[in-house]
Subunit: 262 residues, 4 copies
């Protein structure tokens, strides 16, 4: 049993002009997956390939129409160059990222094989940076594999990740292993509580990303999701404040611990 | 060391007419294994092959005659077409299903190799759906890999599995990976408490299955097992009700938590 | 990195007449290792090969002379046929048995390759059967892969293992996989508390084994170890009986729970 | 995906005269890594190769300049023979040692391939020996794979490791597997509490090592680190002594339990 990428009929190969790759998989605050899913939807990206792996857990999912399907990672593309964009884009998202070293290394290398096939010049990965508290103005942290990209991140007021800190999972590994193949990359992490699927964090990450890669994107729908989430959190805080015996100091309100929601 | 299927002497190959495959392995409520074992017994199926795997745990079992044997999955066949049936059937059951992704994917693919060898057109897998409470009228849930099969399930008043829900283990994986090889399939799950080997759940799953695949089957012996189990549960509830300090509301009686038995 | 067997210089191949294989590795009560180590010593067996495996844990041991060495399984032989014995014997013992399915299956298959090379006709594995209490007259349980061997076990008043019971580890697996290669075998398990290295259990297992395989063996040194252990246990019971508040019924004394010693 | 060693440009091969190999990886008290890192710095060793492995955990690190990089083991060399030294030296240190048998065996064998390529005659590995208490005069323990090396250790008043004791991790395995390839080696372990990165333990290990391998080395900077650590510990003890209700006996002061620091 091998992990493998299956291309959809008539979509192998596809024609892409100077493509970059943008990946967001399930993870901390689901920031990466929320961000990339939004891009796929807004940019009307086309589904062209899917990755199956024996390193995913041994369960399957049921679709809206009751159809059973295997866990997968998904590949989508958008020919933005046709409407004047600088790059075409390959998007990667999916149900799952592997929880074993062997699985992560295997899958990331398969993705890089595909990236090389399409001569991808840059890789951007999106993820969350858990702080344990809710912020109304989440920051964006970044790291990269070239000093020129680090400079670009700083120009966009992205905070550079602290030295020595680990970045766990596919968002770090794809960039690190990509460098080994001569593909430069950056990893953008949105500050998030880690307690919920965080649309606000996804929105601020996308705001930075689209400037870096010069893509036009409507962030409106994500902003609405973020506002709804903020309202929900405010309501929960309100209830908490009025429950006897749990009143907190006003100064603590800006950052607030919540159980995982979403 | 490889996993491998060993065919019994003079039973490789066997002659099967348009076979379907029905699998039930140990799992939630042991519903799948109970169901398939009952079919094997009632239909006088013939044992023709066994699967050994280095991904099973490293223990062995002792038979009734004191003989030691390896853990295995078992393949049986029934030439129902000879007595007017629509399909011949291959049954799969066994001692164990692997508890690792690598084991599950390896074994399911070996089973699919065998299914392809015999040109199996459809796969049905049986299992349990744990609810944590005992029901006197357990429901049957289903999912499939084609819309035509989904329609058949609905026609038999099988409830379609909720979107997004995971189906864990070989009963889901065999169907999902079978689809990748062009074999359509359905997975039927009987509602069960998850606390005991559930003959009643196995019976209601078989009632649905035999209509779907048009097999005649005496469910009497399974009904008797199910009645005995129901009596046992009623006796336990009775005792519990008369124990001081544990009396429950009448409304709670229909669904009742029990420790695992059987 | 592969697991491998290294033969000592000038000892590959060795000349063996109709050899049988006797294995005892660390395990429950250390019964198997104690028994086989005793045979190796008394029969002046010769060390001829060692097995190294990447599936053993990643530590090393220090010898009496301060020399560091890898964990290993050991192969010894005894040309008993030269002094009128029915069979020559290969003994297997070692530091460790693997704690993963992959490791167990890999190593057992390597041992069986060696067994086939020397045309081994029968395999006997020794181990312990934990009951949780100390018995002064430990029983010996057995199982085998042929009805003729089962009969021989019964003739020697070995209790046949209960149907359905699992036998965990190399002592079961070597017999089960040996059968697949056409080598018959039996597994003898000595009753033991499981709380200590049990020389008495090893002694009663050897008493049965040497009748089965017609080997002459001085059990004296093992009997002395067993007596010393029994004395130690009696002293501990004595102390326990005289400690206020822990007095037990006389009827409980024959079987007594102790913490693991030795 | 394979583990692999990547050589830096123009540094494959390098020219080394009768090299020995000295390894210190993260581990107990970080003694090995501290020691080898100090040697690399003081001897102005040159970085020439790095090992990447799919058996390391799936995270990446961020450098001082914000650049993301993969976890790695590092190879450095020092041409000490050019300034009259007896041997050139290859040093190995790194971010991590694998925590699985497969990873450890794979990586150690890759290191031994490199050692054979450069005809390394001896391997020394450094590590810590945890005692659970802080000692002002930590001892150095040793083991080796030849009696002549054991004699040299004794001549340097290194205590030989107790028989039967396990040595866990790469420091034992590299020596044990090196022996299998005909490379002799010794493992030196500095006594350490195990609660902190222990510069004092690293210093006493290096004092022994440089006599064994006849290398001149300034231990001053490490001595200063060790003194600072000792002062810190003394201050913590002082505070502890003056806290009411936690006063200890004077006799207990020499060896003192501390939480992990550094």
């Amino acid at each position: 049993m091998k992990s493998r990428i299956r291309f959809l009929k008539d979509l192998d190969p596809i024609s892409l002009k100077d493509p970059i790759l943008i990946q967001g998989l399930p993870g901390v605050g689901n920031v990466g997956k929320l961000g990339v899913s939004h891009m796929i939807q807004e940019l009307k990206a086309i589904y062209f390939a899917e990755l199956f792996s024996y390193t995913f857990p041994y369960h399957v999912l049921v679709n809206n129409d009751g159809i059973l399907r295997l866990l997968r990672n998904e590949f989508w593309f958008s020919q933005l160059s046709k409407s004047g964009g600088k790059h075409d884009v390959i998007f990667i998202t999916g149900d799952y990222q592997s929880q074993t070293p062997e699985g992560q290394f295997t899958i990331v290398n398969m993705i890089l094989d595909l990236a090389e096939k399409y001569k991808v010049s840059q890789i951007y990965t999106l993820g969350g940076y858990a702080t344990g508290s809710v912020s109304k103005n989440p920051r964006v942290f970044g790291t990269a594999t070239s000093l020129s990209l680090i400079k670009q991140l700083k120009d966009e007021e992205i905070e550079i990740n602290e030295s020595g800190g680990p970045i766990v999972g596919a968002s770090g590994l794809l960039i690190g292993l990509g460098k080994m193949r001569g593909i430069e990359g950056a990893c953008l992490l949105g500050e998030t509580s880690g307690f919920m699927a965080d649309a606000l964090s996804a929105k601020v990450v996308l705001e930075k990303l689209i400037k870096l890669v010069e893509i036009e994107l409507d962030l409106g729908p994500l902003a609405i999701k973020a506002q709804n989430l903020t309202k929900l959190i405010d309501q929960m805080k309100q209830k908490q404040r009025h429950r006897p015996g749990t009143r907190r100091q006003e100064s603590e309100e800006e950052k607030d611990d919540l159980s995982y929601i979403g």
